[in-house]
């Protein structure tokens, strides 16, 4: 019977033109020049990095002032990746962390390297390691990973609101 089953492949492909929108352009241009630029909500005054879509989702208003954040930040939460998966490019175990950049009000996710996974902790201070300047594009991929700065850990109160 199995020989009677007809299988067909029907590939689907559509090309899209993506425009990031003016709200994200400042952020992307900043990355192209090695700067981390977030934007402040004119209503609640929180600073978003990335300023995704240029909107404050709490207030539903367009973000306003540009604010340079980081480059250093504090690990608020993290997870140690021990599971191998198809397409994995980083040697396990490694750490994916949420980092609250100095001056920002929302955390962003990035890799932590140059330290043992077991040593990573909440409150740890970290800084970015950038790709060679010749390789910079308008992308957060310009930052290879974050590494510990060696500063004393941040007080829990500093990031308690951002967990």
């Amino acid at each position: 019977m199995a020989d009677d089953i007809l299988r067909i492949r029907t590939p689907i492909g559509i090309d899209y033109t993506w425009s990031s929108g003016p709200g994200s352009v400042v952020y992307m241009r900043g990355l192209e020049n090695g700067k981390l630029i977030g934007r402040r909500c004119p209503a609640c005054e929180l600073v978003y990095f990335p300023p995704r879509n240029g909107i404050c989702p709490r207030c539903g208003v367009l973000l306003a002032a540009e604010v340079e954040v980081g480059p250093r930040g504090t690990i608020t939460t993290f997870c140690i990746v021990n599971v191998p998966f198809l397409g994995q490019t980083i040697k396990i175990p490694y750490v994916a962390a949420t980092i609250l950049l100095d001056g920002a009000d929302i955390g962003m996710q990035h890799l932590i390297q140059e330290c043992e996974a077991a040593d990573v902790r909440m409150g740890m201070r970290v800084e970015p390691v950038w790709k060679d300047k010749s390789e910079w594009t308008p992308s957060l991929e310009n930052i290879l990973y974050y590494k510990p700065t060696g500063e004393p850990d941040a007080d829990f109160d500093v990031y308690a609101r951002h967990l």
């Binding site: 929108g21 709200g23 240029g54």
Partner: protein
């Protein structure tokens, strides 16, 4: 049944290709319609959105639209993978159940993000039709050919529809096509997808449409002359094109019957006719006399077709005719799918 009315309508600027992100397109429209109805965010107790992920090429892209609403404190919201007109239906049901009193409904689409003629093909049967990539325009041409062969539509009638739509569009600042061209002139143009000519096909747009609807106790606070929804229904035809008579729309006829379109005279009709022959097929199927009913005073979807917003825009434009006192009884209609497969119809009244 609770009495529910459309009390405000706003559409964003229709453009041929915006550089704004979809969310950035929605934000000002939401602000403007809240101002128009003179209400606060907290007055809206249900938000409902219509859009299509195939248009943006991003799965769950509609989730980011919630960012435009200011969802803190938490709001009650929903989404349909359809034109905003179906979001309006969901909101209407929500109000009927008593779970909400005032709803803000919106639809948005960025047609310029990809090849919509191709993207819309993905709505078709995925096994034997979609893999052929027939293209939407070709399917609509098939529908037009079926109607011409059946003797229910003529090329001249189609040209008359286009001529009138372009003329009406001249009074509407939010269109992408307008002008003064008579039927003879239009019929001299070459066909682009036999029997369709370029002007029989819609002017694709990026756009947003938003509506606020509410119940009897609040409607007059938000609008001097609300558009009361006296009947609403939606129906669907087979997906299999070979099982349908494309010269008519059975689902539009059924939805029209259940919405009560023919119970009284229709002053104005805003039908979601994206191709010129649609108007003729729809009017015939729905029992609307085009000689006594003012058809699409806005110019309709032919002159500005922001996908996923254009159907809701028909509801908004029909309501506007009630708001302004131009009509006492208006019919609003939206369609989705190939060859008028899915249809929603509402009767709006000023009294």
């Amino acid at each position: 049944m609770r009495d529910v009315a459309i009390v405000a309508y706003i559409e964003g600027q229709n453009t041929s290709a915006t550089t704004l992100s979809p969310v950035e397109m929605i934000v000002p429209v939401v602000h403007e319609i809240l101002n128009r109805a003179n209400v606060q965010r907290s007055d809206i107790d249900f938000w409902c959105h219509g859009s299509c992920d195939y248009m943006t090429g991003q799965p769950f892209s509609f989730v980011s639209a919630v960012d435009a609403l200011g969802a803190w404190p938490p709001i009650m919201e929903s989404h349909v993978e359809m034109d905003g007109a179906w979001a309006l239906y969901e909101a209407w049901v929500k109000i009927q159940t008593g779970e909400a009193n005032t709803a803000l409904v919106f639809g948005n689409g960025k047609s310029s993000a990809g090849d919509m003629n191709r993207a819309l093909t993905l709505q078709l049967d995925p096994y034997v039709v979609a893999p052929l990539w027939p293209g939407f325009r070709s399917l609509e041409a098939m529908g037009a050919r079926a109607a011409i062969d059946a003797g229910t539509v003529t090329e001249r009638q189609m040209a008359d529809v286009v001529s009138r739509s372009l003329r009406d569009a001249a009074d509407n600042p939010n269109v992408l096509a307008y002008g003064y061209r008579d039927a003879d002139e239009l019929l001299d143009e070459p066909m682009t997808a036999n029997p369709l000519r370029a002007h029989d096909c819609p002017a694709m747009a990026d756009g947003v449409a938003a509506i606020i609807m509410t119940t009897a106790d609040r409607a007059l606070e938000m609008c001097d002359r609300p558009a009361w929804i006296r009947g609403i229904d939606h129906r669907i035809d087979f997906q299999n094109l070979g099982l349908r008579d494309l010269s008519r729309s059975n689902s539009a006829a059924l939805a029209s019957y259940h919405a009560g379109v023919t119970k009284d005279k229709v002053d104005v009709a805003e039908l979601h006719a994206t191709y010129s022959h649609h108007e003729i097929i729809l009017a015939q199927s729905m029992g609307i006399d085009r000689s006594t009913t003012r058809m699409m005073p806005s110019g309709g979807a032919l002159v500005a077709n922001p996908l996923m917003a254009a159907g809701l825009a028909r509801f908004g434009q029909a309501a506007r005719q009630i708001f302004k006192g131009n009509a006492d009884r208006a019919v609003a209609h939206a369609a989705q799918g190939a060859c008028l497969q899915q249809n929603i119809v509402a009767v709006l009244e000023g009294n």
